[in-house]
Symmetry: C2
Subunit: 704 residues, 2 copies
């Protein structure tokens, strides 16, 4: 216990200081406020604490701050006294350390002094219960640095004790004590407060009266030499009053020392012992009132709390050890993302990104890198589909797998990838489906078994696409992209497609068809389909999202079995190792940019020419395609229109799929190229251009 003034001993009054009691809930709420509200704002904030006068012996007097400290209108707990404070939360440890604590204390002391001089403190005695809290929240480590101050104005001299302190039961009769309890309770009830921090007392042998400070002139009328005041006292030491009395004594000295020589102080302590109320351990004493009636200047003030070592210095609480590590990981990850918003991209709508449900078709090199980038963006819902097992060559290029995953034939990639995401970040909701995607030219009708399996696979895929927002095509063959491209186009889901060559890649968003009549405006209620129509866009400028092509729109052959009879190097499994990381990262960044656009997948496609223009989103451009050339360290942003004979997204294909469902699909799986080509009119096109040497585009495939 520290003594504030004067020599030790009974002759001079000493005070027990507050111990700050900052609850974990307080730090949690401070973290939330910092992340979501204060951000980089260092302006002082009003907060609220409380103290209690009912502790059993042995507990220090505490000024408690908890979860509710930031809500100035939050109710004070029953039988507790409120204290109002000012939070100075700094952005850096350095500014925490260099904060001018002397100045802060002087300012607070001055406010108290002014409230005493003006009489405001008589009207509202809580103004005497002021505290300061200087903090720095290191949200990367969950270390909270803080320094608490309860400013106490100093009386010009130490106070000689005239009498006491003694226990109230040594001074008051049982009757008086009962009368005190009753009077105090009544006043609280009348005022509608849980506790009165300061009050006035008058008593005779039978009765004790209490009153509010503001009624002092009426209440003290007729008193001589001495007055009695009451303080709600958080301290439970027999010889010392707690800290709140200090400013009250200054008020008393300033207000009443011209009329009275001494003041009798009742430190009101009010506990429950064995089921019965007990105020008898309150203490009472009398001190000389110093002359302060005419001093205009604010007295010196003290109040910065000592640290755990007993010296003057800040305290630090390391909550990383007492928090649930999984919660800690979640809020840590959130922090990094929120930091982006605070200053760099204040208009970033992070919720649109974090809440998006992503389906990753393919858990190979691209799938792993896409998932890693999604995790970095805080995406919480990631589902993998793959039918391959992890082989020995995978882990060095597929960053969700390790050597151990390859043993005993290899774990299924989709399941292992989902498991790994949970290991990286327990807050993610990751699932894996070890299943095949039926493909054109890969017949399924060899037996009823394979047909039924294909039917189940299609149903599963349809359900998965339905229940996700963004579909990533990250497979290693062209033809495996066909079915999900068709289903996703039909369901109006945003498709992000990535595919690799040796040192080239394409990352693209598929055109997003106009909503069907019945569910128009589902995802992007305000997408301007109608107005975009009116733009009369030229061939490759200002193409709205619904007119953009898909992966198959540039093809003039239908997808077939491309894995048959290819040598190793033709399986497109070989690319410069950095390529998949770049393409995977860009695929996610493209998705994020599109999500930031108010029109989402319907946004007009940015092209290379738009690089010098005002970007359409806070994150920049929303291209249709990014084609990268690693040998030149160059990217171009082509835009291409949907093709009315496309084997995947043309209305002929979508109509058939929507009408016939699996029966149509089965025909495609079991047929050669010609079925889709006949259906879409490609066959006719071929015949027309047969002599014209139609070049097919360079095939881009991802790694396995």
């Amino acid at each position: 216990m520290a003594a504030a003034t004067g020599d030790p001993g009974l002759s001079k009054l000493q005070f027990a200081p507050f111990s700050s009691a900052l609850d974990v809930g307080f730090w949690h709420e401070l973290t939330q406020k910092k992340l979501n509200e204060y951000r980089l704002d260092e302006a002082p904030k009003d907060i609220k604490g409380y103290y209690y006068n009912g502790d059993s012996a042995g507990l220090p007097a505490r000024l408690t701050l908890e979860f509710s400290a930031f809500d100035m209108s939050a109710p004070t707990p029953a039988r507790c006294c409120p204290a109002v404070g000012t939070l100075y939360n700094t952005n850096t440890l350095e500014s925490f350390k260099t904060a001018d604590k002397k100045l802060l204390l002087e300012q607070a002391a001055n406010e108290i002094w002014e409230s005493i001089k003006s009489g405001a403190a008589l009207e509202n005695p809580v103004l005497l219960n002021k505290f300061l809290l200087l903090t720095f929240a290191d949200l990367k480590k969950y270390h909270f640095y803080y320094w608490f101050c309860y400013p106490a104005l100093c009386l010009p001299e130490s106070l000689p004790l005239i009498q006491g302190p003694v226990g109230l039961d040594q001074r008051f009769s049982l009757k008086q004590i009962e009368s005190l309890e009753c009077a105090y309770d009544n006043l609280c009830q009348t005022e509608g407060v849980t506790a009165l921090p300061y009050f006035l007392i008058k008593y005779d042998e039978n009765t004790v009266l209490v009153s509010l400070l503001k009624h002092y002139s009426d209440f003290f009328q007729g008193q001589r030499m001495k007055i009695t005041i009451g303080v709600y006292d958080p301290c439970n030491l027999a010889q010392y009053p707690g800290w709140p009395l200090r400013n009250f004594l200054v008020l008393a000295a300033h207000r009443w020392s011209s009329s009275f020589q001494s003041v009798e102080v009742l430190c009101f302590r009010d506990r429950t012992m064995q089921g019965a109320r007990d105020v008898a351990h309150s203490i009472i004493f009398e001190v000389k009132l110093p002359e302060m009636a005419f001093s205009p200047d604010c007295p010196k003030a003290v109040g910065w709390e000592k640290n755990q070592k007993g010296g003057m210095g800040p305290r630090m609480v390391n909550l990383s050890e007492c928090m649930d590590p999984k919660r800690l990981a979640e809020s840590s990850v959130d922090l990094n993302l929120k930091l982006m918003c605070w200053r760099l991209v204040p208009t970033l709508d992070l919720d649109k990104v974090v809440s998006v449900k992503c389906l990753l078709l393919g858990a190979g090199t691209l799938g792993c890198n896409v998932a890693r980038t999604l995790m970095g963006w805080g995406v919480r819902h990631i589902t993998f589909v793959d039918n391959a097992k992890i082989s020995y060559s995978n882990p060095v290029r597929q960053p969700l797998y390790e050597f151990e995953d390859c043993l005993v034939g290899g774990k299924p990639k989709a399941l292992a990838a989902a498991d790994r995401l949970q290991k990286i970040f327990p807050g993610v909701s990751a699932r894996g489906f070890n299943m095949s995607i039926p493909m054109p030219g890969h017949p399924v009708n060899f037996s009823s078994v394979t047909l039924e399996q294909a039917r189940r696979d299609v149903e599963q895929l349809e359900q998965l696409i339905e229940s996700h927002d963004v579909i990533f095509l990250l497979m290693d063959t062209r033809e495996s992209r066909w079915l999900p491209a068709v289903i996703a186009a039909s369901k109006r889901k945003l498709v992000i497609n990535a595919a690799l060559g040796f040192d080239t890649f394409v990352v693209m968003r598929h055109g997003l068809k106009k909503p069907k009549q019945q569910d128009a405006g589902d995802l992007y209620p305000n997408h301007p389909v109608a107005s975009a129509d009116l733009l009369g866009s030229s061939l490759f400028a200002n193409i709205p999202g619904y007119k953009l092509g898909c992966y198959f729109c540039n093809d003039v052959v239908a997808p077939g079995d491309s894995t048959r009879d290819r040598t190793l190097d033709q399986q497109c499994t070989v690319s410069r190792p950095g390529l998949a990381m770049i393409a995977g990262a860009l695929a996610v960044e493209l998705m994020v940019s599109v999500l930031q656009h108010p029109e989402g997948g319907y946004a007009i496609a940015s092209s290379s020419d738009d690089r010098m223009n005002e970007p359409p989103t806070s994150l920049g451009l929303v291209p249709h395609q990014i084609r990268g050339f690693l040998s030149r360290f160059d990217n171009v942003l082509p835009v291409s229109l949907a093709f009315d004979k496309c084997t995947a997204c043309s209305s002929k294909v979508l109509d058939q799929y929507e009408r016939e469902g699996f029966n149509f699909l089965a025909k495609v799986f079991n047929s050669s190229h010609s079925f889709l080509e006949d259906l879409t009119g490609l066959t006719l096109l071929h015949q027309e251009t047969q002599a014209a040497e139609v070049g097919t585009k360079q095939a881009f495939c991802s790694e396995d």
Copy 2:
């Protein structure tokens, strides 16, 4: 046992076919040949096997192929008979399956037939021992598909047995047997072979004579009706000869059926039983010689081996289960890289990449991504330096860490990163050093303890830089890059530097100073420093590597303490999540491209303008810097000259460092900006331009 012709029973001769015995060593060597020599070449290859006639009863007759099969000059094992074969190794399972096995067999049979007709087989009887091996090596799964064929020409009719077969001891006396052994051994010795596959025999009651086939006319002179021939017989069945006899009988029929009616066949079997030589279990029999003397056409042939199920079909051996998984992982990883060379970049010098020793200063977001990309390139030697611990926000963006690594205060990053690399690929040699890098403006002289620690850190860093080839600067502050930049410049090491903004990055190679006199030409003996000097390069075109700037060359202030007093978002730890993956990947790809250039770090820097020119390496450009702008999905390739007042790489700094060593460094650590600025002349520059508002470049920093 399969019978080749005719009805079962003693009356017709039947032959025991070979079992192919393909050793693990054979498959291993095939893998190596495929990876390093054949690559995509499907042309037939000569290989060599052998068979043995000394097996104990119960073993099948085996044609063995082992490690040595690919070396046609390799010695045949003692007492074994060679067989020459043709390997048809296909590139795909599909071409394995669709190979025209009938045609292959016919071709081989025809060669044998021609050798019989021409007499070549008489001169070199091994020509009769021909085999085929059709293979497909799935090196991703270590599955080897194969089909073995030992072509046997069919006699026009099945051969009626005139006598036997009986054991040799039932026909020959002990004396005759001894004489046979002696004659055979002598002939082998004379011919210098380990075994004679086919030979001629003459015998009387006392003596057995043997001769080479080519001497048949002399040897058989005076024979009537019947001749005796010997065959080195791998079969050990009492009733059947082995397969090699078949083509020999065709030869005999073709050559000698016009002169002789029957042939007595000695199937020579030569084993060691209880320490003693034993040929008595050889069998002998007599068959009618069919008339084949004048038929010109190649007889029908058989010989494709049955599979394990007894049907006609290929066999498959899965070596993934019997190989050491770590070896398997290594060769699998090699395969992916070699595939790049085979067709895509035949001139790629993979060894230069794989053998490079990389030092990664910083194991944060950039360090993790750089390490991952290096692993993909097959780099085997990776060392991390970092002094941070893994925090909860790291794993979602730093792809070598997981949630568990964050617990109990977090593992040291450098050590955890090295551990993770081993888990990903046990073949890597990864180390981690949990140490600080002393920095300018971060004083070390507070106490002798910190001074000594700094001295040790500097020494450690000097040793690490000395023992590595490429130094990656991937830290999160500018000033921590200073010391390694100075040391690496002094030691003439290639420096790759990567740094992130929010959605921008710079990836660059530092200029590589000319070699010092004493160790000139160390790393790149042929770098054309002299000739580049003569180029008289214009300001930003054709700048050779030694004239390029470093990270600090663009700065007009010396590095100082940049972490002090920065708010969270100013600590440059916030960037779009995809950015570090892209920059990390590009840093490695830049290194690889530079290593492929014959002049390495001295290569002339490519600029954006060079994108349309002939690239200087097989992988493309070798820029000085890649500056990326994610919001525009754009990269530019600036080139900048070394600055003669650079605080890191100017000769003033390097000279002082090389002369004074740690004493100089300590002055820098303990001084404000002005020390380095005074030294390099920056101070003067500042004064001169004070009024001119020198803009500092945008600061790029990596994530922590």
